[in-house]
Amino acid sequence: VTGVAEGLRVLDFTWFAVGPITTKYLADNGAEVIKIESHQRPDGLRLTPPFSGEPGLNRSQFFGNCNTSKKSVTIDMSTEEGRDLIRGLVSHCDVVAESFRAGTMDKWGLGYDKLRELRPDIIYYATCLQGQTGPRAGYAGFGTQLSAIAGFYHLSGYSPDELTPVHGPYTDFVAPRFGCFALLSAIDHRRRTGEGQMIDMSQYEASLHFLSPAITQYFATGTIAQAVGNHSPRYAPHGAYRCRDDAAGERWVVLAVDGDEQWRDLLRVLGDDAGLSIFPVHADRLERSGEVDRYIGKLIARRAAAELTAALQQAGIPAYPVQNCDDLRDDENLRAWGFFRDVDQPESGPMPYDGPAYRLDRTPGQQSAAPDLGEHTEEVLSGLLGLSAAEIGRLRDAKILN
């Protein structure tokens, strides 16, 4: 057994980040996830850096990281014969997943209503930016745009006039877990009842759950939450503090102090006697957090981030060095977790991938290579549809399989 999802088969039309990360949870746990691509329209992530060596369709780490353990089949879906092959595959699958602009699969005659005629208990998972219905159903876009629309950029900055966006196509890494959870729930329901269904996962609606306190607050009180830097309404001090630089450059530590006992402990770790009488009361420290920051900032400036983190944690104060991407490779906790792992890719050799953030102790699953474009076309078509080598050759010549 290679994992908990063994025996499930997924026909996966998703591309870019959200859909592929969603189905990756199944693939890394033993499901057979078959990506449908074509040379005219490969998954866009295949062309996205970073690459291992020269750029190439089978050399993108970004693509591979989101698509480990899957298969890739290339079929030209703009042809009727190509779509027939898809229909044939659907009847062998438990789940169909797609992340096109709303309505695209219907246009091809491959929407849920058509596919359930072929396979009544199919689970049809559709995700797009703003959902399958509503005035903005057809709005295509990337995670950077959705991060603006869903409020994340408004809440990223030192102040409302100094916004600095949260990194990357942020919602691309927020939405997949909601989608996967819904998909797993539908799989469970089917096992209990034999019924399939369609899932409409709006990445917008899912991502808002990461800002639910601010939306709830607005409705309850009319207050519009704003960017406040590292200021916290609960902890003081709270933020990132510059430590002693080292050979690699600037170093920062974060910490969060909750209440008088932790404040005493912090000052003890920092070897300071005076702070206790200057800022004796938690509510006052919250009020004067800027002054508190400057006060402890001076004490922290001489310290080394790693050493100070260990001392603060020893004293029960949440703290960590601000790790950059270089540091993460050497982070002892990620190492002990086994987070980073190299997986051999057919074309590009060992590729550095992220591992899961979960561990299933009894059924660990296995992360294998991401597929080269079309790597499994013959295997899947002969295995599932029983096509002969001659028939596959004919389809290749006719550019149906490309």
């Binding site: 908990v4 950077t144 639910s212 607050q217 409705f219 830097g229 916290s232 953030a357």
Partner: protein, 427 residues
């Protein structure tokens, strides 16, 4: 038939604090019976700001009302032997247990996975740890900002020369909570076949690392690392993408390829006010080919910068709605930087009946909650339910489900093992 959700019939014991509050919320949204087990004084998430009208109180935290919606509450003192016994009996009939206690806390109370699985081998027991359970930080504590710093996300946010930043609604714990929900369901998938549960462990740090996308591979593949770069996102190699307008911000990218039509369209709009500035007027956009987007040629970057400056000058005179209505008609790739107010009023969300209003007996107004994160055609999610008051379901669960007699219940309540409903004062 009243919608019950795909997870109707499953029981989740939710012992989690802030680190994993979202996990139980996701189960509740899809219909599971999620029972918060709260300590005397209430779950610490009841005291997370902001509060309704800025007044603290056990039912006044907007965070709690959002994250505990749809859950039930039983209040038990687990530091008393009888409290632990009640929890173990609840775990006997639960499908999932979610916890994010400090390392060793539940083990020392005799409530480890091993102890509870010996009684109920079907149990899926999910532990959310700040930094994993095997490294030097296995016993360390996380506040959200520490998880964010540990993930690499913080180093990528903020301006050079100023501190690295977190999002003003802290995010790291949400990554962990949602990862825990998925992983718990993966374990459940196995249980359906094997009949056996298992221990699931989450690293909050690792869950948030995923949000860096592939930047963690840059040191290996390109021998470089990204640094925070203010309003210019580190990943875009020099292009800024937040632009100030008269009443807020919009997001767009000036450049070639898929951004070219938007770039040219905005410059055409600018011409309605007068001639383009010299360096921009001189640009031949036919030379703006797709591959230009990744070029670091200083001359090309200067051209882009000149366009950015001109477009910034245009946008700062215009209101967000004005920009967006022109963008919609023209098909430009511009997104509004929405505020919570914009999001509350968004017609797209209204058309999909996203928001749901609930009454709350201890507040003087109704609350509007987010709808479920996915629409399932065959098993629609149940209607939104408000968050529970402390111990609100003590009797339903302990008498109704566990079968405590009235006398037993009263004795345990008098001993403080069961915390009387409504006694919460927050922390």
């Amino acid at each position: 038939m009243t919608p019950a959700g795909p997870l109707h019939g499953y029981r989740v014991l939710d012992l989690a604090d802030e680190n994993a509050a979202l996990c139980g919320k996701m189960f509740a949204d899809l219909g599971a019976d999620v029972v918060k087990v709260e300590p005397p004084g209430g779950c610490p998430t009841r005291s997370i700001p902001p509060f309704v009208d800025d007044l603290a109180g056990p039912d006044r935290s907007c965070y709690f009302q959002a994250l505990a919606a749809g859950k039930r509450s039983v209040a038990l003192d687990l530091e008393q032997a009888h409290g632990r016994d009640l929890l173990a009996r609840l775990a006997d009939r639960a499908d999932f247990l979610i916890e994010s206690s400090p390392a060793g806390y539940l083990d020392n109370l005799g409530l480890s996975y091993q102890a509870l699985a010996a009684r109920n081998p079907r149990l899926v027991y999910t532990s959310v740890t700040p930094f994993g359970d095997r490294g030097p930080g296995a016993a360390w504590r996380a506040a959200d900002i520490a998880g964010w710093a540990a993930s690499g996300m913080m180093a990528l946010m903020g301006a050079p020369g100023r501190p690295p930043l977190q999002v003003s609604v802290p995010q790291a714990c949400f990554h962990a909570g949602s990862e825990a929900a998925v992983a718990s369901m993966l374990a459940h998938l196995d249980r359906q076949g094997s009949g056996r549960g298992q221990k699931v462990v989450i690293s909050l740090q690792a869950a948030a690392v995923w949000a860096t996308s592939s930047e963690t591979a840059l040191p290996v593949l390109e021998a470089r690392s990204l640094a925070r770069s203010g309003a210019i996102p580190a990943m875009m190699q020099g292009s800024r993408y937040l632009y100030k307008c008269a009443d807020g911000y919009v997001q767009l990218t000036v450049g070639s390829g898929i951004f070219l039509a938007t770039t040219i369209g905005l410059l055409e709009w600018l011409k309605e006010w007068g001639p383009l500035p010299e360096p921009v007027a001189a640009i031949d956009f036919a030379t703006w080919t797709q591959d230009r987007l990744r070029s670091r040629d200083p001359e090309l970057l200067a051209e882009t910068a000149a366009c950015e400056a001109a477009i910034a000058g245009l946008l700062e005179r215009l209101a967000k709605a004005e920009i967006m209505s022109r963008a919609d008609v023209s098909g430009w790739a511009i997104a509004p930087v929405n505020t919570p107010e914009d999001i509350a009023r968004d017609p797209q969300l209204a058309a999909r009946d996203y928001y749901q209003e609930v009454e709350h007996p201890s507040l003087d107004r109704n609350l509007t909650l987010l709808g479920p994160f996915a629409k399932l055609s065959g098993t629609p999610a149940p209607a939104a339910r408000r968050a529970p008051m402390l111990g609100e379901h003590n009797a339903d669960i302990l008498r109704g489900d566990l079968g405590l007699s009235g006398e037993e219940f009263a004795i345990l309540e008098a001993a403080g093992v069961i915390v009387p409903a409504g006694q919460g004062i927050g922390r």
